[in-house]
């Protein structure tokens, strides 16, 4: 029987990281297989990238997000979405709060290039070893890690809209008063 790419991935991952991961495959009603994997050790992500590269896969995208740890403190997680011949396998790692950095997989999988630069500037997670780590979208004047903050619109605009609006209203009403 021909081996499928999911079996290959599982076998190679076991060889590389031993017991240090959890993995499940889901098949939907159309027969499309999706993988969900979680690594115990975040530094193993480069090993996963090597496996994906050997299997001819690519990075679809990488999602960073904030979540809560067991003590209800903010931590970062990064979900790597790999493509293995049409099958999307999401590999998630946790970035400990005191570390705040992760090894770049761009030297192994070129397709991670932009998305690693983006998560670095949006979440302030340092991507170590990226060949071109400069800003992607955000201007240098904006702080890194902007997605970690909630900035209410009223603060961001410093009341500019409402002030301008009220000045116009006052000007119009005072003109009306003059005419009367």
């Amino acid at each position: 029987m021909e081996r499928n790419i999911q079996e290959d991935f599982t076998e190679k991952l076991t060889q590389a990281v031993g017991e240090g991961f959890s993995l499940r495959w889901e098949t939907d009603s159309k027969g499309v297989v999706t993988g969900w994997c979680r690594l115990n050790d975040h530094s193993q992500i480069t090993n996963v990238a090597l496996i994906v590269s050997r299997l001819g896969g690519r990075v679809i995208t990488i999602t960073a997000y904030k979540t809560k740890d067991a003590q209800q403190k903010d931590i970062h997680e990064i979900a790597y979405h790999f493509d293995l011949d049409g099958c999307t396998c999401t590999v998630t790692i946790e970035i400990p709060r005191d570390i705040g950095k992760v090894n770049s997989i761009t030297p192994i999988l070129k397709s991670a290039d932009w998305t690693e630069r983006e998560l670095q500037e949006l979440y302030g997670i340092k991507v170590v070893g990226h060949p071109n780590p400069k800003r992607l979208f955000l201007d240098e004047t904006i702080d890194e890690g902007i997605m970690n903050k909630l900035i209410p619109l009223s603060v961001a605009m410093n009341g500019a809209t409402s002030k301008t609006l009220w000045e116009k209203v006052f000007a119009a009403t005072s003109k009306e008063a003059d005419n009367e």
Partner: protein, 360 residues
């Protein structure tokens, strides 16, 4: 020969949206490229976290006009996966019809712009005239020429009466002949061939390495068409012929897009023929539990992915999407060197770049 750097953009006549390219040239030949993005970054992913799951259907549709349907479509599929919602079969077919009609309009737009850039303006106008047939169809069926508002959680918000089905069949038929004419021009006209053949080469192995998607990948012989590789909606029930070219140049990418239009007409006709009876959408307001899901679709420019995390509330915990153009930019570093300065806008157009999508 002296080497110097020329700036292209951020505002440039050949670019519809802002992007800044620093192109290193030696004489007339491009030797290097540096891309600076971020001029229209709107922070939409952050915005999506401050809106509820229903508001985000409207928000994601406003990401980009040309592939607007794919965004709410894929976002809804992610929600449906988390909540375990089964979309009625008629709804799945109607989703495919809406998506393919957008593909026709989008690809015609790009191939039209390509003609304009090579200075063949009568062809540009001819293509845009054909596109009007599609725009009229969208306006008649969906009430809108760009944002169709077709998708909702658990199905679609529109239905096709017998009269509308007949109208659509007629409109699709009327596209075929003029389309054949323009495909012939793009493939055989001497002027078009001279400007597009052998220009902006992206070899197959580089296409794989850069992880490019859509017509850019298929023009270099790489088939990662989501409709076939991981079918969704009604794509598992209909026949989709994937168009793959091996020219690896601007011409190959244009041919893939034109062939995709012809295939989209074929898909719409199959759907109209097989359209099952029944509801178009679920009849209850779903509750979305905590969970995570990925959903993918083949947008006009290639693979689109949505990753959604929910926490049981009506606000998403994280919504991330990656648009096809995002993957294709870096490949310009392979396509550009060795080409003439006059081909820069043409090569950029050949990846059908969508900047509002890229920067979100």
């Amino acid at each position: 020969m002296s080497t110097y750097t020329i700036p292209v953009g951020p505002l440039h006549v050949a670019l519809e949206e802002p992007m800044y390219f620093r192109v290193q040239v030696e004489g007339e030949t491009v030797v290097g490229l540096d891309i600076t993005a971020g001029f229209v970054h709107r922070g939409m992913e952050s915005l999506a976290l401050q809106r509820n799951i229903y508001q985000n259907i409207t928000l994601t549709e406003r990401l980009c006009s040309l592939c607007s349907n794919n965004h709410p479509f894929t976002y809804c599929m992610a929600l449906e996966k988390i909540a375990g919602i089964k979309v009625p079969e008629r709804g799945e077919y109607l989703r495919v019809i809406a998506d393919e009609i957008k593909r026709i309009a989008s690809n015609l737009f790009n191939t039209g712009i390509l003609a304009h850039i090579i200075g063949f303006d009568s062809l540009f106008m001819h293509v845009m005239e054909i596109r009007e047939i599609v725009q009229d169809t969208k306006e008649t069926i969906y009430g809108n020429r760009m944002d169709l508002a077709a998708n909702t959680i658990g199905g679609v918000k529109y239905n096709l009466s017998n009269e509308k089905i007949k109208y659509m069949i007629k409109q699709m038929d009327s596209l075929k002949k003029p389309l054949e004419e323009i495909v012939d021009i793009y493939m055989n006209n001497k002027l078009v061939r001279a400007r597009t053949e052998g220009v902006g080469i992206l070899p197959k192995e580089e296409a794989i390495r850069y992880g490019v998607v859509g017509p850019v990948a298929r023009g270099s012989g790489v088939n990662n068409d989501v409709r076939v590789k991981s079918p969704y909606a009604a794509y598992d029930k209909i026949k989709v012929n994937v168009n793959v070219e091996t020219g690896c140049d601007v011409r190959a990418r244009a041919i893939v897009r034109l062939r995709d239009i012809q295939e989209a007409i074929n898909i719409i006709q199959q759907c109209l023929k097989k359209l099952p009876d029944g509801p178009t959408c679920i009849d209850y307001l779903p509750e979305i539990p905590a969970g995570e899901a990925v959903a993918k679709s083949e947008a006009p420019r290639g693979e689109l992915i949505y990753y959604l995390r929910t926490n049981g509330s009506d606000m998403p915990e994280r919504l991330k999407w990656r648009v096809p153009t995002y993957m294709n930019w870096e490949a310009l570093n392979v396509m550009m060197p060795g080409n003439k300065v006059s081909d820069i806008p043409l090569i950029i157009t050949s990846i059908d770049p969508c900047i509002s999508c890229t920067e979100r």
